[in-house]
């Protein structure tokens, strides 16, 4: 079947001004690991990015670390022989990260070592990462990933990306944005006067699918992130929404109402074969695949109120999954397949909740109202969601154990619908 590739007639712009700024740790764990990230030496003036500072911010963002301020440091060791553990014990540092940056033929090389202050021994042998001047942030995030994994045993997510939607009023404008997970280096993937929503990553991280109203009607598009090429994959009467990639990347689940009612379908992206999954006069929407691709979670009001159900694709057998609360919608499965996160309503508040799939136990993760669009980090340790703060839509993050919460306020516009990338 012939594929139509639409060149984006809406601008694929360069780096945009708007950035998420000033990450605020609104609630940390009681006992975060205290780490001292010593300023890395660099002979050759001032670098365009402060690598040590980015590493400090990354680790703080996780909520599991507390970065010791530079002013409190007694010395700036650059190698093991210059370390006096007593100096670091005095300021209650548990770990110490030191390093240096050099430049050679236009490339930057950052070498770093990690020490365990409590045990007074090396935790990580010297590692060197390199890149160009535009990749200094990547270098910093890679260091953060390694340090985080060494200490926690969990893979770091600082090199991953997020996609989100920015909405502006007067004049009305919507932008689909791509940025680092800390909000830096944001750029617009799409700009439109009509609503843009429901962005999702392909499992390989090369494409995004989303809904755009640019033709005055909703349609699902797939956009290649490196080339900018766009492919309109649906154009049916009625709803064309809630795209969700199958784990193998070959199918896109979605909601269509072309047969009269919002129903779940799957579209094979290669053959363009469309398969209807649900058949009910109620609302069926917000599909999300199980981690093995054998089933789809979806929201339905077939029981009068919105709840999450699961359909097994091979048999069509459907079962209700959520029972706790009068409103549970937009389920997303954690990477280990053990938890389902969702929007839960109780006492009139909409909050993010996580349900243990096996036991059915539900836990509320957020305390604000109007929380929505949870998206889980690929390491399963955190999730990001959209909420309201100071009358504006902002993004926030919470650890899956609900112990740490982080706000990522935006400079302008309403920020919403975050989608956390897979590992690259």
């Amino acid at each position: 079947m012939k594929r139509f590739i639409l060149l984006a007639f809406i601008f694929i712009t360069g780096y945009a001004q708007a950035q998420l700024t000033n990450i605020t740790i609104s609630h940390g764990i009681d006992n975060p690991t205290r780490i001292a990230v010593v300023p890395m030496s660099y002979v050759g003036g001032k670098l365009p990015e402060d690598i040590s500072e980015i590493v400090r911010n990354d680790l703080s963002f996780s909520g599991q670390f507390e970065s010791i301020p530079v002013e409190k440091m007694i010395s700036y060791p650059q190698n093991e022989s210059e370390i006096h553990y007593r100096d670091w014990k005095m300021i209650n540092a548990e770990f110490l990260l030191i390093g240096s940056i050099t430049q050679q033929a236009g490339r930057f090389y950052a070498s770093y070592e990690l020490f365990d202050v409590v045990q007074q021994k090396r935790a990580l042998a010297r590692i060197t990462v390199d890149g160009t001047d535009t990749q200094l942030r990547d270098i910093a995030h890679r260091i953060s990933d390694k340090v985080y994994e060494t200490i926690t045993g969990i893979r770091g997510i600082f090199s991953t990306k997020i996609i989100y939607v920015e909405a502006f009023q007067k004049p009305t404008k919507y932008r689909l944005m791509l940025s680092d997970v800390d909000g830096a280096r944001s750029r617009a993937l799409l700009e439109s006067k009509q609503p843009v929503l429901s962005p999702v990553w392909s499992p390989d991280g090369t494409k995004v699918a989303y809904v755009s109203f640019e033709t005055d009607r909703p349609a699902i598009y797939v956009q290649n992130l490196s080339t900018g090429h766009r492919d309109q994959v649906t154009n049916y009467h009625g709803l064309n929404g809630a795209p969700a990639w199958s784990p193998d990347g070959q199918n896109l689940a979605m909601v269509l109402s072309k047969d009269g009612n919002p129903e779940i379908y799957t579209l094979n992206l290669a053959s363009r074969a469309l398969t209807r999954v649900t058949n009910h006069f109620a609302i069926d929407t917000e599909p999300s695949w199980t981690t093995d691709g054998s089933g789809i979670y979806f929201t339905s009001d077939r029981g009068a109120k919105p709840q999450i159900y699961k359909v097994t694709l091979a048999t069509g057998q459907t079962e209700r999954v959520t029972f706790d609360g009068v409103y549970n919608a937009r389920g997303r499965v954690s990477p280990d397949g053990k938890s389902l996160v969702m929007v839960n309503r109780r006492d009139g508040n909409y909050q993010i909740a996580a349900q243990d799939i096996k036991s059915g136990n539900l836990r509320i993760l957020t305390e604000t109202n109007l929380d929505e669009s949870p998206t889980i980090a690929p390491n399963g340790a955190m999730l990001m969601y959209a909420t309201n703060f100071g009358g504006k839509g902002i993004l926030a993050a919470v650890s899956l154990d609900a112990r740490t919460k982080v706000r990522l306020p935006s400079k302008q516009g309403d920020v919403r619908e975050p989608a956390w990338s897979p590992f690259f």
């Binding site: 139509f4 909703p218 309109q232 609302i283 937009r330 929505e372």
Partner: protein, 157 residues
């Protein structure tokens, strides 16, 4: 059959995209003035021109059933539309609470409820187009019931 329909759909999309791309005039809707919630109740049921009929019907929270007031207003619209050759767009909306795609479906159900009612009254189905904007286009931007009740609506355009 599906693939044929899809192909036609995609062809149409390409044409539409081309048209939008070539035209600099954007299809800006007129700002919708926030009608009071009681508009539907007080709207004259019969015997007035389309221009003076309220063109918005409202819904209860998380519901897509028509209220008695909405039915009265829609009866009047049906009388006008039966004889007219114009086509009408029914735009469904939801308030901001809850998830966005669920609200998109809610807006769709609301627009469909209005369409089905009008068709039952004798309006040609082919003259009615439905589209849902979910919670994406509120007329009132507050975070309280007075705003929410204005946003749970179907606009007859």
């Amino acid at each position: 059959m599906i693939t044929k329909a899809m192909k036609q759909g995609l062809t149409l999309a390409v044409v539409m995209a081309f048209l939008v791309g070539c035209s600099s005039s954007d299809k800006n809707k007129k700002p919708v003035t926030a009608a009071p919630v009681t508009a539907a109740v007080t709207a004259p049921a019969v015997d007035s021109s389309v221009q003076t009929l309220a063109n918005v019907v409202y819904f209860e929270f998380d519901k897509y059933e028509l209220t008695p007031e909405s039915r009265a207003l829609l009866l009047a619209h049906a009388e006008k539309l039966k004889g007219a050759s114009t086509s009408v767009r029914l735009e469904g909306h939801a308030d901001e609470r809850g998830s966005r795609e669920y609200n998109m479906a809610l807006g769709e159900k609301r627009a469909n409820a209005v369409r089905d009612f009008l068709v039952l009254q004798g309006v040609k189905a082919a003259s009615l187009e439905t589209v849902s904007y979910g919670e994406e286009r509120p007329v009132a931007t507050g975070h309280d019931e007075s705003s929410w009740s204005q946003n749970r609506r179907v606009e007859i355009k």
